[in-house]
Symmetry: C2
Subunit: 124 residues, 2 copies
Amino acid sequence: MKLTEAEWQIMNALWQKHPATAREVMDRLDRRVQWAYTTIKTMLTRLVEKKAVGEIKQGNTSVYDPLVSQQKARLSAFRSLLDQAFDGAMGPLVHFLAEEKQLSAKEKKELARILESEAENKGE
Amino acid sequence: MKLTEAEWQIMNALWQKHPATAREVMDRLDRRVQWAYTTIKTMLTRLVEKKAVGEIKQGNTSVYDPLVSQQKARLSAFRSLLDQAFDGAMGPLVHFLAEEKQLSAKEKKELARILESEAENKGE
DNA sequence: AAGATTTTACTACATCTGTAGAAGGCGCCA
DNA sequence: TGGCGCCTTCTACAGATGTAGTAAAATCTT
């Protein structure tokens, strides 16, 4: 389930609250996104075709519901990034994150802390 | 500097060893990628147009060199993913990673460990 | 130097993406 | 009941992307 950039915008809005009509999706779209109503309808239609979203008619109006969870979509995007840009492995990503000056030490520590504790209590 | 999927393939090959000719890039392409020589040339040309790659003629043959570092490209891809799929923040990503069963506790701990130590000695 | 091989520069073309307009249908209000 | 406003379905269309073929020029090989 590969989503395009524009599709992510729509999905993000839909995950926020659903089921939702096209108009509701529109209202919840990121502020930076200023699309015509029909553009949103087009995206929604394409997402329905891709089975990423379900559509039911409520009278004359369509109501949409995500068919893929945010978690699933995120996983797929994450894996793609890993494959494409990090040799498909966590190692290079970790290395990159560690090297990256753009991430403050604070962010890194936070990241480390959460992962640490998660690994602790969910560890197998 | 946004790279497409196909462009990543080329860049990955080019970062491996450079400068390199189109033919050398071809030889280093991921095994799964079976492109015609001219396809590679086309990609290279487009990358030159985008200023992601430099080109110099060595006699009749072009030799290419990356103009963007792998680190930079990775950062840009990482940020895009963050913006698009994780509300632009590390928080949700961390959360996702922690929740994600696909990542073993071992991987998580490893990740945590490296980040922790990095944060320690480079910390500001 | 002629043939074989390699490279280059152009052109091609189907899909996918982003973005929307047009036109027709439906319900509600005056 | 005639509009007004909102919803729907279709159609459009340019630019990006993936993937190459052609033909001509340069180079190597005997």
